[in-house]
Amino acid sequence: MAVVESPAAAPEAPPTFRDGVRAGVPFAVAGGLVAMSFGVLADTAGLSPLAAIVMSAIVYAGSAQFTAVAIVAGGGGVGAALAAAALINSRFLAMGAALGPSLPGNAASRAAQGQTVVDASWALAGRGDGTFDRNLLFGSSAIQYVTWVSGTTVGALGGDVLGDPENFGLDAIYPAFFLALLTSEARGGRPLGVAAMGAAIALALVPVAPAGLPVLAASLAALVGLTRSARAAALSRSEP
C-alpha cells in the first residue's frame, strides 16, 4: 500500500512509533489547516470555542464533524446530523475490517486500537500485503491528532480574524490531501484501474445517494481482488 520511504523500505528494522510520527507529519500539517477551517465553521455555526475543541478531541473524524455541524447550522436536527455523520464514517467499516486481522489483544483492546484509524494513518500503515503496521498507524495518527485539535483551537478562537476559509482555498486541501495519498497507493495497472472504478462508482451515486454512501460503495471496486490473477499477484508479493 503506502510507499513510506525510509522506515518501511528497510525490512531488517521494523518501523517504530517515531517513524510513524515522521511519516504522518505532512498529513498532520495539511490536517491542521483543515482543522482551522472546521474551527471557523463551528464558530459561525454557533458552537462555542470549547465545544468545537472538545468535538475535535473526542470525535477526531474530520469529514463527519464538518457534515454534522453544517447540518445543525442549516437548521437540521441532531438525529439527521448523526445519521449523516454515520454515513460519512461508514468507510471506516471497510478500513476497520481490513485492519482487524492485524490487531492483537482482546476485543476491547482491539476496539481501542481501532480508534486510531483516520484515512491517512490507515493508508500509511498498510504494508502492501493486506496487513498493517501498528507503529505506523499509531505514530502517524498521534501527530495528526495533535494538529487536528490545535488547528481547531486556532480556528475556533481566531475565526473573526481569519474570515471565510474558502477565501484561502482551504476547502481544496482535503481532496488534495487524499489525492496525494492516492498517488502513493495507486502504482501499477491494477490499483489504478480500481481507483478509476471507485471514482466512477462514487460519482454515479452522488446524485441519488445520501452523502457518505457513494464513498462506501466505491469499496466494491476492490472486489476486483477476487479475480484469479489478482490473487496470484497478491500471493507472489507476500512470499519472501
Binding site: 505532512p26 455523520a85 474558502e166 482555498g169 472504478m197 452522488v206
Partner: protein, 102 residues
C-alpha cells in the same frame, strides 16, 4: 441535554462504534488469500472516491469549481515532486486565486 452536547456526544459515540466493528469482528485472525488481495485494493478505491466526491460534488449534484482546478494542480505537483505539502498548498493557493479573480 442541550443540542450541542447531544451533537458532540452522539457524533463521538457513532464514530467510535463504527471504528470498533472491524477490529472486534475480525481481530487476530489469519488472513485468507482472497481477503488480502481485496484489502490491498481498498485504499485506491476509497481514496479515489474521497477525491472525486470532494472535488467534483456539491451536495447531491456534480459541479466543477475553483477547487476542482486547485486539486488537479495539486495532483500534478505531488505526481512530479512527491511533496504532499506542495500538493495541498498549491491546491489551496490556486483555488483561492481563482476565487479572488472570479
Amino acid at each position: 441535554m442541550s443540542t450541542t452536547v447531544a451533537l458532540i456526544g452522539g457524533c463521538a459515540l457513532v464514530t467510535a462504534a463504527i471504528k470498533s466493528v472491524g477490529p472486534i469482528a475480525l481481530g487476530g485472525r489469519e488472513l485468507p488469500d482472497w481477503f488480502s488481495s481485496v484489502v490491498v485494493l481498498l485504499a485506491p478505491a476509497l481514496l479515489a472516491a474521497l477525491v472525486v466526491t470532494q472535488a467534483l460534488a456539491d451536495g447531491d449534484r456534480l459541479a466543477v469549481g475553483p477547487e476542482t482546478a486547485g486539486v488537479l494542480a495539486g495532483g500534478a505537483v505531488v505526481f512530479k515532486t512527491g511533496s504532499i505539502i506542495g500538493c495541498v498548498l498549491t491546491a489551496a493557493a490556486l483555488t483561492a486565486g481563482l476565487r479572488a479573480l472570479g
